[in-house]
């Protein structure tokens, strides 16, 4: 990785580059999904791949989701390495049986004799008024079910490195891309969606969180747009005299508890921020891990910010109220510091 050239890419370009580089090396890899061909994927993850690999390897599918995601399972069992896209995570209800009863369990039920090298990629997240059926993250819904690695990278560097790792992994990986972090022309353009990406291939492990800002007073654990919100809160926190350490989870399942424990041992305080629903979400999971395995590090009650157990409403005023932002983070961090 040391001498490879670095370019500035958007999240979507970083993903499509990872897929392209792996496809060039391994002809068992193919892509299936709605609008992955000429359109290049609604969130740009397969941009340009149709021109490079043609319709045999970049396959547009009908809206037959149980069919094509189930077919990825069958093809994987035959030795292929399918990358399947189902646009929005919200649509997975249609095909959940194939995912959690089959893709996730076949390796285990076969005593490790059948491999499922599948990447299931999907767009997550709200914040742009796409309402209740197009704005969820559902991190926890997938993280809850055994048999799948679930990743949710934030920055272009990690989107590429984790996509490469996901493709090379012999197990099913649910790869969640956040729509707002893809750098799409029709979404809000935020700085985090553009970043340095090495040209050559490299791997970012599927099970490691990353400290993206060091601090001494409180640990903030987040993923994707909540990581961005935490970074946006840094100035306000500093004004309040709080030097926060920010951990970008990157992997939802497994959760990298060592990185979290190490940070909490230093800061003694913990705030977890999630764009998923509050109950049973990763705020609960991380809190439980720290409470049961690193309890004596803590000097204050753990703080949790997440969607307050309602569907994501359409109207901007309502949506802003339910999705945590930098101001919520600053207020909650102050509360924890003062407790």
């Amino acid at each position: 990785m040391t001498d490879t050239k670095v370019q500035k890419l958007t999240g979507s370009k970083a993903m499509s580059l990872a897929i392209e580089q792996e496809m060039l090396k391994d002809d068992k890899i193919f892509v299936m999904g709605e609008d992955v061909g000429k359109y290049g994927g609604i969130f740009g993850s397969t941009t340009g791949l149709m021109d490079k690999f043609g319709p045999d390897r970049i396959m547009d599918t009908p809206i037959s989701e149980t069919g094509f995601i189930g077919a990825a399972i069958g093809a994987a069992a035959e030795g292929f390495r399918p990358i399947v896209e189902l646009m929005f995570v919200d649509f997975h209800g249609v095909v959940m049986d194939q995912i959690y009863n089959h893709m996730a369990k076949i390796t285990y039920m076969s005593g490790g004799n059948v491999k499922m090298p599948i990447v299931l990629m999907t767009g997550v997240g709200g914040g742009y008024s796409d309402a209740a059926q197009h704005s969820q993250t559902l991190y926890a819904s997938f993280g809850h079910l055994p048999g799948m690695k679930v990743v949710a990278p934030t920055f272009p560097h990690d989107l590429k490195g984790m996509m490469t790792a996901a493709i090379r992994d012999d197990n099913p990986v649910v790869f969640m891309l956040h729509k707002t972090l893809q750098g799409l022309g029709w979404m809000d353009q935020i700085p985090a969606s553009l970043g340095p990406v090495p040209e050559g291939d490299y791997i970012v492990p599927l099970n490691k969180a990353q400290v993206i800002k060091e601090g001494t007073d409180i640990t903030i654990v987040a993923a994707q747009m909540m990581t961005v919100a935490a970074m946006n809160a840094v100035a306000g926190l500093e004004k309040a005299g709080i030097n926060a350490e920010i951990i970008d989870l990157r992997s939802i399942k497994p959760i990298d508890k060592e990185t979290i424990f190490k940070s909490v041992a230093k800061t003694k305080k913990l705030l977890i921020v999630d764009e998923d629903y509050l109950s049973y979400g990763y705020t609960a999971e991380v809190a439980a891990l720290v409470a049961s395995e690193a309890f004596y590090s803590l000097e204050a009650p753990i703080g949790r910010l997440a969607i307050p157990d309602v569907p994501i409403p359409y109207s901007s005023v309502l949506e802003k109220y339910v999705i945590p932002d930098a101001n919520n983070i600053i207020a909650k961090a102050k509360e924890i510091m003062e407790s």
Partner: protein, 329 residues
């Protein structure tokens, strides 16, 4: 075409024109706050926006045969269906503006409109409304009512599992159920020919032992005729039908769609065959209306839609904490 009464033709024209004008205003309203740099989340009408310009005959041609008690479910592209089912236009517009006075108090948005007063609903998950309409038809049958239920879908949805399961159920139970497939040739960027080997979906009726109808070239008069038969059959207990209509999508899949996948010539060709103009010139040619009467009708339609927009624009936004209400009743 003599078989269609003036009253029905004027009704269809009114709904089609109203729908078109509604969408044309929406096209502009949607772009507010999104220029010069497009940002899907910005402006008074944020989020995805799927408009129905060109697809009006599918909705008006069948809803003319429906009554208030009949159920309609619609997909992510619902405005023409809603208008033809006589959904409260002011509250629908207010919903799309995310206002407190909207059908869902701003919680639903353009893809999630619910007006139980006229038994209309729609949703953002492709094909999900089909079984809901089957359930409404089941309810009508259980109640011994002559109500029918209509599910509007795009041709892309006909390849989803929910379509096949629903039709099998509706056929098995001989329900007063009709699925209207609005074949606009495209499922986002994927043409119909790349989605199924069946050129027209009416033939799929054979798979369930039900009736299938095909309406070519977005023909509002033919849509009227086959719908009349299908609705009458359903009301008489003769079972479900599939109606497929070849229709036109004048705009992108959603507003902001770069449409790089379709030929630049396609839309002008479709626009030249505007179905609303066809009904209008028919009314005039057959002596059912004069140009002047049509102008007056248009003026009324435009002012009704404008009033709905004024209502929406001037309505208050919900309070932020309202987000926590209406979870359970």
């Amino acid at each position: 075409m003599k078989d269609i009464s003036k009253e029905h033709l004027v009704w269809m024209y009114t709904k089609m024109k109203m729908s078109r004008y509604f969408e044309e205003r929406m096209e502009k309203a949607y772009m507010e706050g999104k220029q010069p740099v497009f940002n899907i989340g910005a402006g008074p009408v944020p989020g995805e926006m799927h408009l129905s310009n060109g697809q009006e005959p599918a909705a008006a041609g069948i809803c003319v045969h429906l009554k208030k008690e009949d159920t309609v479910t619609a997909p992510h592209r619902p405005h023409h269906n809603a208008i033809a089912k006589e959904v409260d236009l002011k509250r629908m517009t207010a919903e799309i503006y995310g206002k407190k006075t909207g059908l869902g108090k701003g919680k639903g948005g353009h893809m999630h409109l619910f007006d139980p007063a006229v038994k209309f609903s729609c949703g953002g998950i492709v094909a999900a409304g089909i079984p809901h309409a089957v359930g409404a038809a089941l309810a009508a049958k259980k109640l011994g009512e002559d109500w029918v239920a209509v599910a509007f879908i795009g041709e892309g949805a006909a390849n989803a599992g929910a379509f096949h399961e629903s039709l099998n159920l509706a056929a098995l139970w001989k329900l007063p159920f009709i699925v209207v497939i609005e074949d606009n040739s495209w499922g986002i960027s994927v043409p119909k020919s790349d989605s199924t080997c069946v050129p027209f979906n009416d033939v799929r009726a054979a798979a369930y032992g039900i009736k299938g109808y095909l309406v070519r070239d977005n023909d509002p008069f033919e849509m009227y005729r086959v719908s009349k038969e299908a609705v009458e059959r359903a009301r008489k207990g003769e079972g479900p039908s599939i109606i497929e209509i070849e229709t036109y999508r004048f705009l992108g899949h959603f507003q902001g769609d770069p449409e790089l996948y379709r030929d630049k010539e396609e839309v002008p060709t479709l626009r030249a065959k505007d179905p609303i103009e066809r009904v209008k010139s028919h009314l005039i040619k057959e002596g059912m209306a004069t140009e002047k009467e049509m102008d007056a009708l248009d003026a009324n339609i435009i002012s009704e839609v404008d009033e709905a927009y004024e209502f929406a624009i001037n309505s208050p936004l919900p309070a932020p904490e309202d987000a926590l209400e209406d979870m359970f009743v």
